[in-house]
Every structure is written in structure tokens, then in C-alpha cells.
């Protein structure tokens, strides 16, 4: 494998292991979700109601690993961190499969 590709893969691996920082830091600084990405409960609390269309559409799709969490929202931080790393691996695995499939589909020269 060419040197640069190897270095990039090592970098991606390091990012995967460090990814729980993405949930730990916001917890440490008691900051909330990204602006405009709240649940209907939060929207209801802030506005006194949930807009009709939002209520209807918000839960139209159930993702297999919602919020990068395989467990529950109340899980201890270490468990959520584990979930987060596994989620990263699932995401990268899916990207890897798509990449391999694309290489297979490439016309042989």
C-alpha cells in the first residue's frame, strides 16, 4: 500500500478512537445539541407547542442506530462512548463497502 494511503488510514483510525470527545466535550461544557436539531419535546418546551407538520414528520423514520447510540440516552458516559466508537466503525465500514463495490465496478483497462 502506498505510504500516503497508509498514513491517511492511520489518521482515520486515530480519529475513530478519539471520536468520543465529540460527546464528552459538549457534556463537559454543558452545551446542548446543534442549533435547530432538537427533538419535538425540546421544541414543545421552548415554544409551548409542536408545529403540526413537524409533529407529523419528525418520527417518520426510525434509524437502526439513532443518535450514534446503541443503548439508551441515560446510559453512563463510558457506555455511550463505546457506542460512539462502534457507530464510527459501522459508518466507516459502510463507506468501505461502497468504495470496494465502486472499484469492482470500474472497467478493467
Amino acid at each position: 500500500m502506498p505510504g500516503l494511503q497508509k498514513k491517511i488510514l492511520i489518521g482515520l483510525f486515530a480519529m475513530t478512537l478519539l471520536s468520543p470527545l465529540g460527546i464528552l466535550l459538549p457534556k463537559m461544557f454543558t452545551s446542548g445539541k446543534a442549533w435547530g436539531e432538537w427533538s419535538t419535546e425540546k421544541v414543545s418546551k421552548d415554544n409551548g407547542y409542536v408545529p403540526q407538520g413537524m409533529q407529523k414528520d419528525a418520527s417518520m423514520y426510525n434509524a437502526p442506530v439513532a443518535d450514534y447510540n446503541l443503548g439508551r440516552e441515560q446510559d453512563p458516559v463510558w457506555k455511550q462512548s463505546g457506542s460512539y466508537i462502534i457507530s464510527a466503525v459501522i459508518g466507516i465500514g459502510a463507506i468501505g463497502l461502497i468504495t470496494l463495490a465502486t472499484i469492482k465496478l470500474l472497467p478493467k483497462k
Binding site: 482515520l12 445539541k33 446543534a34 442549533w35 437502526p64 463507506i95 470500474l106
Partner: protein, 225 residues
């Protein structure tokens, strides 16, 4: 910047689906011409990089959080059309597997992050770099490309959210979808990106661009022209 289901009205998300799909099909056509066993693995790694960097939520103490996208760096290194494909693959997987971003909003989110950011970054870099070969000027151009492009993505996102109370209202006058007006959405998203997230995107873009320039200059799309 990942708009969830329920925040955009169909009259917003359907046209954005159409716009995104047009860009994606042009991107696929353009990239296909130079697609090679050499480029595809880099596209996959770019997609993984963008996927991962978006997992690093950066807090604004006591406020909301946000993240870099990595799309500016991908646009500079592999070209904006490759970035359209690599970043949208990451975004589509985030929506389908992790409900990070809504299913209905895949078009909007991909347009904001996988189209707006790469092209604004590419254009900004070209303008600031000019014809200079100075390493400092190139780093400045890369930083500004990341900084401005993330801001542009945020402004598009805020505008799409902010027009909802104007264009989708129930008979009793209440908003049907995102209830926050432009006068709230734009400043909040602009400030977060100008003060925090944009700086992170800029630094990542500048530092890693410098790294790639050092290690493999003939990979770099934007320096070829």
C-alpha cells in the same frame, strides 16, 4: 447543520432534493471520466474523513454545539466535484443509519454541506491564492477557504430553516414546520460558525492541506490548474 425531519416543509425539501440530485449527477459524470483505481480509494478515505470529523461535536459553553465538515479540504485536494460525491455519501449514511439529519432533508443537507461548502471553498482559495506560490499565502488561502465555506453552508441552512414560518403556516397562523424566524436562525448560526466552528474548519483545512502539499503534490487538484 444537519436538518432533521419535520423542520422543512415539502415546498422546501423537494426542490432542494432536485437541486442536489442535479449536482450529484453532474458530479458523477465528471468524476467518471477520471475515475481510476487510484482515485477511488482516496474518495472513500475522504468520505470517511468527513463522516468522522462531523462526529466531533464542538461545544459553545452553555450554548449549542456544532462541528466541522471537512468538505473544504476535500474540495481543495480532490476537487469540488469529487467532494460533492464523497461528502454526500457520508451525509446519506448519517441520515439512514444514525438519523443524523432527516430522510426528507437529505437533499437540503447534502446541498448545504456537500455542494455549497466545496464550491465556496474552491472559489475562495483561488481568489486569495491568486498566482502566488508563497507557502504563507497558500496557507492563508486554505484557512479562509475553510472558514468562509462553512459560514456559507451555515447561512444556507439558516435561511432554509428561517423561511419556514413565512412559507408554511396553518390556518390559525402558527408555523407548520421550523418555528424560528430568519431574525433568529441567521444570527445564531452565523455567530456560532464565525466564532468557533469556522475557525476549526479553517485550521483543519490549512494544516492538512499543507501536509498533503508536502507529501504528494501531484495529488492536489487545485494546484494543477
Amino acid at each position: 447543520m444537519h436538518i432533521p425531519d419535520g423542520y422543512l416543509s415539502p415546498q422546501t425539501y423537494l426542490p432542494l432534493y432536485a437541486v442536489f440530485i442535479s449536482f450529484l449527477s453532474v458530479a458523477i459524470k465528471k468524476v467518471k471520466q477520471k475515475l481510476s483505481v487510484r482515485l477511488v480509494p482516496f474518495m472513500g478515505m475522504a468520505s470517511a474523513f468527513s463522516f468522522l470529523i462531523m462526529m466531533f461535536n464542538i461545544p459553545i459553553p452553555g450554548g449549542s454545539s456544532g462541528h466541522a465538515v471537512g468538505a473544504a479540504l476535500i474540495a481543495l485536494v480532490l476537487g469540488p466535484w469529487v467532494a460533492v460525491i464523497s461528502v454526500s455519501v457520508a451525509l446519506i449514511l448519517q441520515a439512514l443509519i444514525f438519523s443524523d439529519g432527516g430522510i426528507t432533508a437529505i437533499g437540503a443537507n447534502s446541498f448545504n454541506m456537500a455542494v455549497v461548502i466545496p464550491f465556496v471553498a474552491y472559489g475562495t482559495f483561488k481568489i486569495i491564492r491568486g498566482k502566488s506560490h508563497s507557502a504563507q499565502r497558500i496557507s492563508l488561502a486554505a484557512f479562509t477557504a475553510g472558514y468562509i465555506s462553512l459560514f456559507a453552508g451555515a447561512i444556507f441552512t439558516a435561511t432554509e430553516l428561517g423561511i419556514q414560518p413565512l412559507i408554511a403556516v396553518s390556518p390559525d397562523g402558527r408555523p407548520l414546520y421550523s418555528p424560528y424566524p430568519l431574525s433568529v436562525a441567521i444570527p445564531v448560526m452565523a455567530i456560532g460558525n464565525l466564532l468557533v466552528f469556522g475557525i476549526v474548519e479553517g485550521l483543519i483545512t490549512a494544516l492538512l492541506f499543507k501536509y498533503f502539499c508536502k507529501h504528494n503534490i501531484n495529488l492536489i487538484e487545485i494546484l494543477k490548474a
